[in-house]
């Protein structure tokens, strides 16, 4: 597809590469023969260099890493080409010889720290095993070395945690354990396959820092697999862009980001929201869309102001509190409760987007479920379009749902797999007796077109749609009842970056046309910056800062808001050498023992409508 060798960085070209991949093609066995998922891929990694492979789902980036490690299931997969590690050709090694390479010369960390450790062995033993399979050590030597490794990955009280089991560690700490395990035999190359994707953004920042620091200390090369352009910009010297199994482009990260040749690269980068790019704008902004064949940008229309501040808010929340009691012990006594949402107040006007942003466990989703009464709040007042949400009986609750609708995170999970898309979209209309089946079908067909799908697709079942299409179906379904408010709970988080941009644009279009109000729940600061009128930052169940989007992003006041913003990776290669020097703290739990009285909170008004919680 392109000449890789000519693009090599001058400095690294002189060193013999640690790993050299030539014409790698990986295929999987399917019913009709072999299907290639990675085609004709070539690249080198020099000592101490970081190469990133970036691509959307289905691009073959993970298969590449598993091919190098030869961890794909034998018989079901076929690897062709040459993979050279120093003077060894990995593909011609025997299984036993390859075993000697794994964990010793090349180590790997994976995306899911929660499931990548064996649940029945203490973590110390699992790290020790990585040592003892490649060298003979006494028990005490191994223990001492493991402790050293645990300290190296900055696990607090390392020695005392040797005998603990994986479930006693948080996700971020487990990923540190995985890294310690990978470093055990001082590998020449570390393959990191989406190592921070499952982690919260502040934890991601810590892990990225750690990998960079350790790379310097150990002098290893890193092959970094990711879908996140921000992460790429922060870690990699050179970048390889993949699209459906093909190498689209490879070059220095700076070249790729600023002088990308291939239209796909440019389209991908255009779709990535960049934190801080909205400076000086008051209204939300559509994402630019670039044609992946020509590389030309399509005209970007500005949005008009839809917010109706003069009317009464369509959603009004006062002192909303939702707690979940935990019972334990023999008599199932209440031992405490999770203070998921604690005295949260905000209002949302017609045509407005208010974003709730925060990390896992901050209560943003529970807030969304509380205002729609999918969970029953403990106390407070919620008014939706004139309905008092807290006191509704079952039948009025159903009527209230016509005013407020939800779109969920996982487009694969939120549609009944055994119901055709047409039935799914028409169902709310029919269940609420809003008209005949014929009317329902007509309305559904109209909405399908509005969300960018063909009405012909209504006969199909959810599994026949892609993730982005399903999310469009879910949006069409929510619109069947002509709601005034849509609670979008991480509605674009699970989507690939280019699809994410399109669905965000769709949401903005619908707001323009239908004057919808969105309660936009997200952990993604960059997307939030793009789509919101106002933003509320949540931490441990409370709103710590709320205000107009521009005010909060340009002038963050609360320390947690600042920390959150600092942790977001920005797709700008100039930040390659950036280190955040974040402490290894973990995300706190909102669990409180029985009898806990939450402190009274006060807020300071920074500017008009911009409030910050006083510590």
């Amino acid at each position: 597809m392109l000449d890789v060798t000519s693009r090599k960085d001058e400095a690294t070209a002189r060193l013999a590469p640690v790993l050299s991949v030539e014409n790698l093609t990986t295929s999987f066995r399917t019913d009709g023969g072999w299907k290639s998922v990675v085609r004709d891929m070539s690249f080198d990694i020099a000592p101490r260099e970081t190469v990133a492979i970036v691509g959307e789902s289905g691009s073959g980036k993970s298969v590449t890493s598993l091919s190098i490690m030869r961890l794909l299931q034998k018989g079901a997969s076929r690897i062709e080409g040459k993979i050279r590690l120093g003077d060894k050709d990995l593909l011609s090694l025997s299984d036993e010889e390859m075993r000697g390479v794994r964990g010793k010369d090349i180590a790997m960390i994976f995306q899911e720290p929660m499931t990548s450790l064996n649940p029945i062995f203490p973590i110390g033993n699992q790290i020790a095993e990585a040592l003892t399979v490649h060298q003979s050590l006494t028990r005490s030597q191994a223990r001492a070395e493991v402790t050293r490794l645990l300290e190296k990955v900055r696990i607090p009280n390392a020695a005392s945690r040797f005998d603990e089991y994986p479930h006693q560690f948080s996700g971020g700490m487990r990923q540190r354990v995985m890294i310690a395990m990978a470093l055990a035999s001082r590998p020449k190359l570390l393959i990191a396959d989406e190592p921070t994707t499952a982690l919260d953004v502040t934890i991601q920042g810590q892990i990225l820092d750690l990998i960079k620091t350790l790379q310097d200390e150990e002098g290893m090369a890193v092959l970094f697999i990711t879908h996140d352009m921000g992460v790429v910009a922060e870690v990699s010297d050179r970048t390889l862009v993949m699209f459906r199994g093909d190498t689209v482009e490879m070059g220095t990260t700076d070249d790729i980001f600023h002088r990308g040749k291939h239209p796909y690269t440019r389209a991908l980068l255009a779709a990535v929201p960049r934190l801080g790019s909205m400076k000086g704008r008051a209204l939300p902004q559509r994402f630019p869309i670039i044609d992946i064949n020509t590389g030309e940008a399509m005209p970007l229309m500005d949005v008009t102001d839809t917010v109706a501040k003069t009317k009464t808010p369509i959603l009004d929340v006062k002192d909303l509190t939702t707690r979940f009691d935990l019972n334990a012990g023999f008599f199932r006594r209440k031992t405490g409760s999770v203070h998921a949402v604690e005295k949260v107040s905000f209002s949302l006007f017609e045509g407005e987007t208010l974003s709730l942003v925060g990390e896992s466990g901050c209560g943003k989703s529970t807030t969304g479920r509380s205002v729609t009464r999918l969970v029953r709040p403990t106390s407070g007042h919620v008014t939706v379009d004139g309905y008092d949400v807290m006191t509704l009986d079952a039948s009025t609750l159903r009527t209230m749902r016509r005013s407020i609708q939800m779109v969920f995170q996982d487009p694969f999970a939120s549609l009944n797999p055994r119901m055709s898309v047409g039935s799914a979209v028409t169902e709310p209309f029919i269940e609420h007796n809003l008209g005949t089946r014929r009317q329902a079908r007509e309305k559904a067909a109209d909405l399908m077109e509005k969300v960018g799908l063909s009405p012909d697709m209504m006969r199909r079942f959810p599994h026949e749609f892609s993730g982005g299409q399903r999310q469009r179906v879910a949006i069409a379904r929510a619109l069947m009842l002509d709601p005034k408010v849509i609670v979008a709970d991480e509605a674009v988080s699970a989507l690939d970056v280019s699809i994410k941009a399109q669905v965000c644009n769709l949401l903005l279009d619908l707001q323009q046309n239908l004057n919808l109000a969105y309660l936009f729940i997200s952990h993604d600061m960059a997307v939030v910056e793009r789509v919101s009128h106002r933003v509320a930052v949540m931490y441990l169940g409370e709103i710590v800062e709320i205000g107009p989007r521009a005010a909060v992003f340009d002038n963050p006041q609360h320390p947690y808001t600042r920390k959150l913003m600092a942790a977001v990776p920005v797709p700008d290669p100039a930040r390659r050498s950036l280190k955040r020097n974040m402490s290894t703290d973990e995300i706190k739990s909102p669990f409180r023992p029985a009898g806990y009285v939450p402190p009274l909170r006060e807020y300071r008004e920074v500017s008009e409508g911009h409030l910050v919680q006083l510590g």
């Binding site: 075993r99 000697g100 499931t115 064996n118 399979v133």
Partner: protein, 316 residues
């Protein structure tokens, strides 16, 4: 551990109570007058009235249940209508026989089922896997009483290698005891072995797909260690659970096996009781088998607790 155990034992009590209610309610199903069943067709009206009085058939259901359950708790399961023998001691004599048979069958099933299942999972899709799959499917499809009959036909009638029936206590004549036990144990254990094979295979396949198995391979751990340590030690939890919970199936299978091989165990007793219309004996055996199952699930809980660090490390 102790707290956990107490909790499980306490949870078993209501289950046992409901089992006893179910078992006692069975006699409400008897068509017609239970006194007629005891007295027989020729019994006079006075005799029937006397029987009703003696057995408390005129009392309300709950009173009858109360009498029955308080007696049962003292080991009094009633008296045989026919032989006037007490049912409790009769049962006590037969339990060791059935337990010996069940244990032998369990051994057969574990020794065959687990290794065969593991190998089938490792060599998935190859010859051995297919052979095991076919064997296991045949094993669960063969009625064990027919398998027993066929084995008698072959090994006792035709070849004369093994005795066709009977039971010899191990303490009286160990060799003869084992010779009489071989066929019943295989017959009873075959179905269970098949179930164990299928279960072990699928548990191993599930575990082998887990991320931590991939991690172990990425560390360069030898394949044998990956399978036996990282995979099997995780898969053993569902396997052990199944083994203990299959105990009930084993007891039920013993009824037929004992019938086929004329082994004087609890199973033979319950069949004889059914034909002699000894309903109290049927109730006693049903109750005991339910209680035995509850005991085995308790054992499964304990094993599960020991094998699962998540439970172990949680202080109760």
């Amino acid at each position: 551990m102790f707290g956990f155990l107490v909790q499980r034992v306490m949870a078993a009590i209501p289950t046992l109570f409901i089992i006893s209610l179910i078992v006692f309610s069975l006699q409400q199903l008897l068509p017609g007058d239970p006194a007629l069943v005891i007295g027989g067709g020729e019994a006079s009206q006075e005799m029937l009235a006397q029987i009703r009085e003696q057995y408390g058939f005129n009392d309300p259901f709950l009173v009858q249940y109360w009498h029955w359950i308080t007696n049962v708790m003292q080991g009094d399961f009633g008296v045989s209508f026919r032989t006037r023998e007490e049912i409790g001691p009769m049962l006590a004599a037969k339990i060791p026989v059935t337990l010996t048979l069940a244990t032998a069958a369990m051994l057969v099933s574990l020794v065959i089922g687990i290794p065969a299942g593991i190998l089938a999972a490792i060599w998935r899709g190859r010859g051995w896997d297919h052979a095991v799959t076919v064997a296991a499917l045949s094993g669960i499809s063969i009625p064990n009483f027919w398998l027993g009959i066929m084995m008698i036909l072959l090994f006792a009638v035709h070849l004369g290698w093994l005795p066709a029936s009977g039971y010899v206590s191990f303490f009286e004549d160990p060799i003869q005891s084992i010779r009489t036990l071989i066929m019943p144990a295989i017959v009873l254990g075959a179905g269970l072995a098949a179930a164990m094979m299928r279960h072990t295979r699928s548990a191993m396949l599930t575990v082998m797909r887990q991320d931590y198995v991939r991690t172990a391979r990425a560390k360069g751990v030898a394949e044998k260690t990956v399978i036996l340590k990282h995979a099997f030690l995780n898969a053993q939890i569902p396997i052990i659970t199944l083994a203990t919970l299959q105990f009930g199936t084993l007891l039920a299978g013993a009824v037929l096996t004992e019938q086929v091989f004329s082994i004087p165990g609890v199973g033979k007793m319950v069949v004889d009781a059914v034909f002699n219309r000894e309903y109290q004996a049927v109730q006693a055996v049903t109750l005991l088998s339910g209680a035995a199952f509850v005991l085995m699930s308790l054992l499964a809980d304990v094993l599960y607790f020991v094998a699962n660090p998540k439970l172990r490390t949680k202080t109760l």
